[in-house]
């Protein structure tokens, strides 16, 4: 079935970047305002799903040539690695640390190991959602 989806495709090209940018913002903002790795990951996958709907699976794979299963594994490694890292400092598993540094232009910047953990969550969520959708969608 050949459909005319020119409007959808054109809008998608713009909107996807807005969603992705928003996702990144949500991800980093999570510690202070609503958001976080989980929502950020879901938003990102939402953007990718939009691409999938507007174009097709093949185009999408050319555009974002990720192996999402590896992405799941890397995400899990990030989360578990952050947890295990605290063992090196002789504190219980998953103890987070944070610090503040002053950068010339950006000003006060707070750094958390929790962000690394959340990055793992982010990657796993994107990986899982996309694996499921690609597998089921790619099944003829």
């Amino acid at each position: 079935m050949k459909t005319n989806d020119l409007i959808l495709q054109t809008t998608t090209k713009v909107v996807v970047f807005i969603i992705l940018l928003f996702a990144v913002y949500i991800f980093f903002a999570g510690h202070y305002t609503p958001g976080g790795g989980f929502v950020g990951g879901l938003l990102t996958s939402g953007a990718i799903v939009l691409l999938l709907l507007a174009f097709d699976l093949k185009t999408l794979q050319n555009f974002l040539p990720f192996n999402y299963i590896y992405m799941i594994a890397i995400g899990l490694l990030f989360s578990i690695g952050t947890g295990a890292g605290s063992l090196l400092f002789n504190v219980p598993f998953l103890t987070h640390a944070f610090t503040h540094i002053d950068l010339p232009i950006l000003g006060d910047l707070s750094l958390h190991t929790a962000t690394l953990f959340d990055l793992g969550v982010f990657l796993v969520v994107v990986g899982v959602t996309m694996t499921i959708i690609q597998t089921i969608g790619g099944d003829e």
């Binding site: 899990l76 987070h96 929790a114 969550v121 499921i132 959708i133 099944d139």
Partner: protein, 799 residues
């Protein structure tokens, strides 16, 4: 962690390295990486001999699960040390032998040596553990590694059959042993062997005493291939010959003997123990030697011979237990049985190990192990022949080899049974020396068959796959060392008596002062005449073997134990398939039905029994008009889903319900939840659309009344239960809310301002970690299910 712990763990550690070394250095035979470890461990354990021969023990402990009384406690005493030396000593020789036996070009050597190291570590753990749970863990690991090694050539059906059989039988025994260990714990409150021994007098009258004994004996009998559980051992001969020599004759099958010896101080006060251990042992001795005579496979003969010799040691351990019933006057009178057991254990490892290696050499150099095709190999393999002569004569109990000495002591012990006057042994005890003597005749016969049918007689080159020649020297070193040990121990038995045997015996019988002295010549006594009788009758039976061979046909194949095992296996598989097919319909809706029905029943029962369903309205806020409208929208949406005619409509309606819920979250000032709910709803609608695209159209069959009523009951049930629980949870606050803690500490401890996110990544980060792991598993599951199905389908198309 002490050096002793490290010694036990080192094989596992090396096991991790071997595959890497194997990949990196393909030109070197992987066995060379393994060989130094058992040699080193052997030397290390030798250094304990001065300690144990002074009747002292070494105990090292590290806490493992202290709350359950399970510590990784390692104890070196005479008995443990004897086994540790056997494991590492024979282990070194077997590894050396395997380097020449297994070709590095044809075999998967990395897996072979990993399994072998796994076994070595596990076996060391069994014999050195002081804690019964740790012992049990290692015990099962030996069964497991034995399974892997028997099935090493997994493309052969017989290997797989043998591996499965050994696994089923030994793990069955292992589990029952675990039951016995737990019963012991119930009686004594400890898993430590030495602490249980201290309490052995108090538990003697406990009603759990006999069940515990039976369970533990079942474990020992299955492992040590005692009648009627011996059937797995001949099938285990499908393993490569180095494995047979190591696991299935020298070490693993002796784990059962070890356990019986270890447990003797606890149980041997009871007459039933003596009857069972000695009785099963002597029956196994006879049945094994009797069955060995009819075998035509070299390794088959050796397998049944091992069964028989294990029975012999088992019966000696049983009789040795009788010594516990006498006061110290007659100590050495009955403890000779225990001394003989320990002594024969060592001797058996030497001569049987060398014989297995000889069988391997014959197989390797001629291409067959069938004695009907072999013959006259003496001229081609003079060295192998010499080793075989030494091994078999020792096995048959002929002087001047070590087997003669232990066989004499065995006869002494059996004759002395006649003088035991309790546990009804005075009436039936006379059977012991008789059966022992008859079994020894058969032992003589199969020993003679083994060596003379192979090496003398007519050479039949046309029946052999290869032209026979002497084995390479590397393959001969190990059996030569073992055969020289046979001779050295034969001439100087007292080299071992105070260094190894006496400490081991005193570990089995802790309260005895044991004086071990083994002498070659006892004068013309009963035992010597018994041996002479064995030799004369044995030669006679060997010469007339074709005439009385028919005896074996008296036992029809139909009633054999193997047939019984096979039919039990087939029947249980069939029964479980029938039962499983009854509830596994292949429809996921049926499984959902089970899940939800279970959910309803369990929760409704709990609510009812605990009287937990409460509704309180005193802390409820008033309902705003906007909330009422939202609730109405949700209800209408949910009800319309039921009446939707197409799947597309239901998905959209479900999405509408989800979005409305997220507006609720906004009203209740939960932006995080609202955001997540919105995105989740979007993505799941897309996902549903993708999935439903593949589903067939709604069919008539789903319109059936019964189907609809079941669905209605289940869905109403689930809805009602969830509502009731939600209401009760709100009305029934059993604990103070933890919310205030998070409010106070979110910024203080985690430097965050978004409480929800801080809980997710920090306070309850562990939950999150496992949740994403579950997500990952689910994704991989879906991926596997769909992709594997596709590949399977493709294969079918090709056919």
């Amino acid at each position: 962690m002490s050096l002793l712990h490290l010694a036990i763990i080192s094989p596992f550690l090396l096991g991790i390295l071997v595959p890497i070394l194997y990949k990196l250095l393909r030109r070197v035979h992987a066995g060379w990486f393994v060989l130094p470890l058992p040699i080193f461990l052997f030397i290390y354990f030798l250094s304990y001999i001065p300690i144990t021969s002074n009747q002292q023990t070494v105990i090292k402990s590290i806490a493992w699960i202290p709350t359950l009384g399970i510590d990784f406690t390692v104890k070196v005493d005479g008995l443990g040390l004897l086994f540790a030396l056997l494991i590492t000593g024979i282990g070194s020789l077997v590894v050396l032998y395997s380097i020449y036996y297994l070709s590095k070009d044809k075999e998967q050597l990395n897996t072979f040596y990993v399994y072998l190291l796994l076994f070595m570590g596990a076996m060391l753990g069994v014999v050195l553990s002081e804690n019964l749970i740790v012992l049990y863990t290692f015990w099962e690991l030996t069964s497991f590694s034995s399974f892997l090694l028997i099935g090493y050539w997994y493309d052969r059906e017989k290997s797989r059959y043998g591996a499965q059989k050994s696994m089923l039988i030994t793990v069955f025994g292992g589990l029952s042993m675990l039951g016995g260990i737990i019963l012991l714990y119930l009686m004594t409150g400890t898993f430590s062997i030495s602490e249980i021994i201290q309490q052995s007098n108090e538990i003697l009258t406990n009603p759990l005493f006999i069940p515990a004994m039976l369970c533990i004996l079942l474990g020992a009998f299955t492992k040590s291939a005692q009648f009627p559980f011996h059937i797995w051992l001949p099938d285990a001969m499908e393993a490569p010959t180095p494995v047979s020599a190591y696991l299935h004759s020298a070490t693993m099958v002796k784990a059962g003997l070890y356990l019986v010896a270890r447990m003797s101080p606890i149980f041997a006060e009871n007459g039933l123990w003596i009857w069972l251990v000695a009785g099963f042992g002597i029956v196994t001795l006879f049945w094994g030697s009797f069955s060995a005579v009819k075998q035509t496979d070299l390794k088959g003969i050796l397998a049944f011979s091992t069964v028989s010799q294990l029975g012999m040691i088992m019966s000696l351990l049983g009789i040795g237990g009788a010594a516990l019933h006498f006061d110290s006057i007659n100590d050495s009178y009955f403890s000779v049985a225990t001394v003989a057991a320990v002594f024969h254990l060592i001797n058996h490892a030497t001569f049987k190990g060398s014989l297995f290696m000889v069988a391997g050499i014959v197989d390797h150099e001629t291409g067959t192990r069938d004695i009907r095709r072999l013959g006259g190999l003496m001229h081609f393999m003079p060295i192998t022949f010499t080793i075989a002569i030494i091994g078999t004569f020792s096995m048959a109990g002929l002087p001047p080899f070590n087997g003669f000495l232990s066989k004499e002591m065995f006869f002494t012990a059996m004759v002395r049974v006649l003088e035991i006057d309790f546990f009804n042994l005075e009436t039936w005890g006379v059977l012991f020396p008789i059966i022992a003597w008859v079994a020894s005749i058969f032992t003589f016969v199969y020993s003679v068959i083994l060596v003379f049918k192979t090496f003398t007689g007519k050479f039949q080159p046309e029946k052999l796959a290869k032209k026979p020649h002497e084995a390479p020297i590397g393959m001969l070193i190990s059996p030569i060392i073992l055969a020289s040990l046979v001779i050295i121990i034969g001439f100087f038995p007292n080299l071992l008596s105070n260094t190894i045997i006496a400490p081991a015996v005193s570990a089995i019988m802790p309260n005895f002062k044991v004086d071990v002295h083994i002498s070659f010549w006892h004068g013309f006594n009963t035992e010597l005449f018994m041996t002479i009788g064995v030799i004369l009758l044995g030669i006679l039976l060997y010469k007339t073997f074709p005439k009385w061979r028919k005896v074996y046909r008296l036992f029809p194949e139909k009633f054999s134990l193997n047939r019984l095992y096979n039919s039990i296996l087939a029947d249980s598989q069939r029964a479980s398939r029938t039962i499983t097919n009854r509830y596994l319909t292949g429809f996921s809706r049926t499984y959902l039905l089970y899940l939800f029905a279970f959910f309803i029943i369990i929760l409704a029962t709990t609510l009812f029994v605990k009287d937990a369903f409460i509704i309180k309205t005193n802390n409820v806020s008033s309902i705003h008009i906007s909330e009422a409208i939202l609730a109405l929208v949700i209800s209408i949406g949910a009800i319309s889903i039921i009446f939707a005619k197409s799947r597309l409509t239901s998905i959209i309606l479900l999405g509408a319900v989800g979005y409305t819920v997220s507006i609720f979250f906004v009203l209740f000032r939960a932006p995080d939840l609202a955001l997540t709910q919105l995105v989740i709803e979007t993505i799941s609608v897309a996902l549903f659309l993708l999935c439903f695209y593949h589903l067939p159209k709604l069919k008539k069959r789903e319109e059936r009344m019964r189907f609809r009523i079941t669905n209605a009951v289940i869905s109403v049930g689930v809805g009602a239960i969830v509502t009731m629980i939600a209401l009760s949870a709100h009305s029934n606050k059993l604990f103070d809310s933890i919310a205030q803690y998070y409010v106070d500490n979110t910024f203080e401890k985690a430097a965050g301002k978004n409480m929800v996110n801080v809980i997710l990544v920090d306070f309850r980060g562990f939950d999150t970690m496992f949740e994403i792991t579950v997500l990952a598993i689910a994704a991989l599951g879906i991926f596997g299910m769909i992709k594997l199905r596709l590949e399977g389908g493709k294969k079918n198309e090709n056919q």
